[in-house]
């Protein structure tokens, strides 16, 4: 089994994984494109006014984000299942059918977003057009589709995990993906009470992004360390359990930091603040863990008189290291500095949140999923040691640099907003626009647009690289 992971040939599960990765990459491109439209509208408000309004562009921007990540997450699991369990994925036919159902539904939903945009204030708009709830706007009919697809995926994972070898990584993934699918159900109802609405809305968003997704990343990172640098499975899996304890221990009740101001009781101040203040700890631990294992395995090889790098996939490993760092930076630092209620009172609902969102989604999730795409390229092309190309390097620098630049620009914009619109004018209409017209704010938005364009260009290099790097001749085969 030692080199089984190096080849996707002959594994239907791995073939399906490449479909998921391909569609995910397309949606990633769509996300950046509509993000660019929204960024232009901040600078030139007349751009596509009443054609593709900000609300529409942003809805597609954030929905494409969520969906491409879910696609890539499913793909990554289908990729690693044969390696971990030692058998072909059970129910692969259902998996392939569900892929087309899922992909088809997404295309229809996006077309409706773009062409219909808004409907009358009736239940049928919620069922057929969109639900108008940030991140989970998908219309109700699509909700049910997503539930069916997710159940099929979870079934395949469980059936395979129970039939084949059940490693620690597979065990964590099974529990985690079940929770991930189940949580979606809490966001599927309508209520007139907006406090109740947002209470449950956060169950989906927070418990996904700050609990189940983070644990998923821990499991994928564990898999990556084993396959890419040959880290010791027992060590990696022990760390995975520690990470699960730390991530769920802080993340589940860390949900409280979204319950400071939505009508929920004051006791959430303490719960939210103190549990979420612990959320960066596992991220530091993950970062150290990756570097420690890398150093340790490299050192062990060198002691044997083998100075060559232990990394068998340079581009993927680069993205994995970026993940360890970006997770700590985007989710940890940018999250921590506005998580305490004393400060959050002023920063809640400003561009700070946006800065944190960009850096955290990218640092914690986009990076590792791109890394998994590179692993799939290595596997399907039967490459023993994959090296970077010029495009790999250009894509990595431009995407990481672009997102970092956007994050800093938005942080500056957020700071202006906090000072002017919040601390002084208390979130009124006039205060809002005073903040928006400040020079620092306006310039920050120019920089955000520029950095967004850099990111988009980086994506072009990334797409080109993913399509062509497998054919490059400088790898060891």
């Amino acid at each position: 089994m030692a080199s089984n992971h190096l080849t996707g040939v002959g594994s239907e599960s791995k073939q399906l994984a490449t479909w998921y990765f391909t569609f995910a990459a397309i949606l990633f491109g769509a996300q950046l494109l509509f993000g660019l439209v929204a960024a232009i509208q901040y600078v030139m408000p007349g751009f596509l006014f009443e054609i593709v309004d900000f609300s529409v562009a942003r809805m597609i921007h954030i929905n494409a984000l969520v969906v491409w990540m879910v696609f890539a997450m499913f793909g990554a699991v289908y990729w690693l299942l044969p390696d971990e369990t030692g058998i072909e994925t059970v129910g692969i036919k259902i998996g392939k059918l569900l892929f087309w159902v899922f992909a088809g539904a997404i295309v229809v939903v996006v077309l409706v977003y773009l062409l219909v945009q808004v409907g009358p204030a009736t239940e049928s708009s919620i069922w057929l057009i969109h639900e108008g709830r940030e991140y989970i706007e998908a219309p109700r009919w699509a909700d049910f589709g997503i539930v069916v697809v997710a159940l099929g995926f979870v079934f395949n994972l469980f059936a395979t995990g129970m039939k084949g070898k059940q490693t620690g990584i597979v065990t964590v993934l099974m529990a985690d993906m079940l929770a991930f699918a189940g949580l979606y159900l809490t966001g599927m109802f309508f209520t007139d009470n907006i406090s109740v609405d947002q209470f449950w809305w956060w169950w989906v968003i927070h418990l996904w992004v700050e609990a189940t997704w983070e644990v998923y990343v821990g499991a994928i990172a564990a898999y990556g360390l084993i396959t890419m640098i040959g880290a010791h499975r027992k060590v990696v899996e022990m760390w995975l359990w520690i990470e699960v304890a730390m991530l769920f221990g802080s993340g589940i009740l860390g949900l409280g930091h979204h319950y400071f101001w939505i009508g929920t009781p004051e006791y959430w101040w303490e719960i939210g603040a103190l549990f979420s203040a612990l959320e960066p700890l596992p991220l530091v631990a993950m970062f150290i863990h990756v570097l420690y294992d890398w150093g340790k395995t490299q050192g062990a090889e060198e002691a044997k008189g083998n100075p060559a790098s232990v990394i068998n996939n340079k581009p993927a490993f680069t993205w994995f290291v970026l993940n360890a760092f970006g997770n700590f930076l985007g989710a940890g630092i940018w999250g921590f500095f506005h998580t305490l209620p004393q400060v959050n009172l002023y920063t809640h609902g400003t561009q700070f949140t946006s800065a944190h969102g960009h850096l955290a989604f990218f640092g914690a999730y986009a990076t590792i999923l791109i890394g998994m795409m590179y692993m799939a390229v290595q596997g399907t092309n039967g490459i023993k040691v994959m090296k970077s190309t010029k495009s790999t390097i250009a894509a990595t620098w431009m995407i990481a640099g672009g997102v970092m630049g956007m994050g800093i620009a938005l942080t500056i914009a957020g700071y202006v907003q906090v000072m002017v619109s919040r601390a002084q004018m208390g979130a009124t209409w006039a205060g809002y626009f005073d903040g928006q017209s400040g020079m620092w704010f306006a310039q920050a938005m120019d920089w955000r647009l520029f950095m967004g364009a850099v990111t988009m260009l980086g994506f072009v290099f990334l797409a080109k690289d993913l399509l062509s790097i497998g054919k490059a001749t400088h790898h060891e085969r």
């Binding site: 030692a2 027992k234 060590v235 960066p280 970062f287 150290i288 506005h338 004393q342």
Partner: protein, 118 residues
């Protein structure tokens, strides 16, 4: 039944000039905290020379200072301030504990014959 009006319970306003120091110090709490943890780990595994270690502890001192600064600018209250100090003392020991753990598991596994799972 009327509760006495207690001005000290009023949530203190954050001064306009304090926002920037708060944001910076709270980011630095994590940055220096990570510096401490990383330097400590790397010196222990031999990636850094031992003379770097004092800089790790300097990182811890700066973490504690930034947390203190952040707490006082946000007016967190006397008891909370004390709790933060206890937290920092706990954090001083954390990398030691983690290193002990990670080192033990490596030691145990390096002596095992790797046959079961690769």
């Amino acid at each position: 039944m009327l509760a006495p009006i207690n001005e000290s319970v009023m949530i203190a306003e954050i001064a306009l000039d304090d926002f920037l120091p708060i944001f910076i110090s709270s980011s630095l709490v994590l940055v220096f905290g990570a510096v401490y943890a990383i330097v400590f780990t790397f010196v222990k595994v031999g990636a850094f020379k031992p003379w770097v270690m004092p800089f790790g502890y300097l990182g811890w001192v700066l973490t504690a200072y930034c947390l203190y600064l952040m707490g006082s600018l946000m007016h967190v209250g006397e008891f909370t301030q004390k709790a933060l100090i206890v937290t920092m003392i706990g954090y001083l020991f954390l990398p030691h504990a983690i290193y002990y753990m990670i080192d033990r598991v490596h030691e145990e596994n390096e002596h095992e014959v790797v046959s079961d799972n690769s």
